[in-house]
């Protein structure tokens, strides 16, 4: 696990949502947090190298830029999990993929140019694996706002 001091936590809690949109964002961030641009960059380099920060960039709303997304569930036999997960992950349209043991154990999100493409991928996966993929598109969205409160 990555060691985080108070300033690291402060940076992480800030830049999830309040990353300054500025041509010199790290300088601005440094001003807000009371440290130099160099120190911000040095800390972020470490945080990124060690995996605490995956990336700093846009979280794209697929449905607003032309496209659709969905959640897919599938029940994969225990001994085929790695193979099937690789097969699913090959698609660039797959944005998240997790093992969550239950009635269906592999759960992934698809985000594609449109519904036709989603159906095409699911049909292809079914052909390749013989498994039944359960398509669970959003009916109503009540909340989306991943923000980790890092303690």
């Amino acid at each position: 696990m990555i060691y985080l001091d108070d300033m690291d936590k402060n940076i992480l809690n800030t830049i999830q949502h309040d990353f300054p949109l500025d041509i010199h964002p790290f300088q601005k961030l440094g001003e807000e947090l009371g440290i130099s641009e160099e120190e911000i960059i040095r800390r972020l380099e470490r945080l990124q190298n060690e995996g605490a920060v995956r990336k700093i960039g846009p979280v794209i709303n697929r449905n607003r830029v032309g496209g659709s997304s969905t959640l897919v569930a599938v029940n994969v036999p225990e001994d085929m999990i790695d193979e099937i997960a690789d097969c699913i992950d090959e698609y660039p349209e797959v944005s998240h993929n997790y093992l969550r043991p239950d009635k269906y154990n592999v759960w992934f999100t698809l985000s594609a140019s449109g519904e036709e493409r989603i159906n095409e991928i699911l049909k292809e996966l079914n052909r390749k694996t013989g498994l039944e993929f359960i398509n669970l598109p959003t009916v109503r969205l009540f909340k989306i706002g991943v923000r980790f409160n890092i303690k």
């Binding site: 990555i2 949109l21 995956r54 990336k55 846009p58 979280v59 794209i60 709303n61 959640l71 980790f148």
Partner: protein, 152 residues
Amino acid sequence: MDAIDEQILIATQDGIPLTGSPFRDIAQRLGLSEEEVVERIRLMKEKGMIRRFGASIGHRDIGILANAMCIWNVPEERVENVGRIMASFPEVTHCYERPRRPGWEYNLFTMVHSYTREDCEQVAARISESTGIKDYRLLFSEREFKKTGVRL
């Protein structure tokens, strides 16, 4: 979305460089000023094409190891009300209604992230109490196969 916005999203979706002027290269490539690039990002955010611009956290790497998808069986006529209550919990990061399928009656999905499984279970119990929804399950992620986020 015009072609320039699309190019900006493609250029930044895997992360901006950690430099003093992280938008300079993109601006040069697209024949824009850095200010124009930043302004376009701000506008895309305002229009909802970008949900947020900022850091994606490797939550497992920093010890937020428990991540539960809570699934709830909510009567049709209560979905709107219950969905709102669930969304109001700060521990709930996502809340969606999804369709029922043959043999699958869970129609509300909430994501809860926390440091421990017990934390997640307690949050779910509190949600159950305040909504009256008793038929629910917690699906904990045991492995992460992929987490790239939405890419164009």
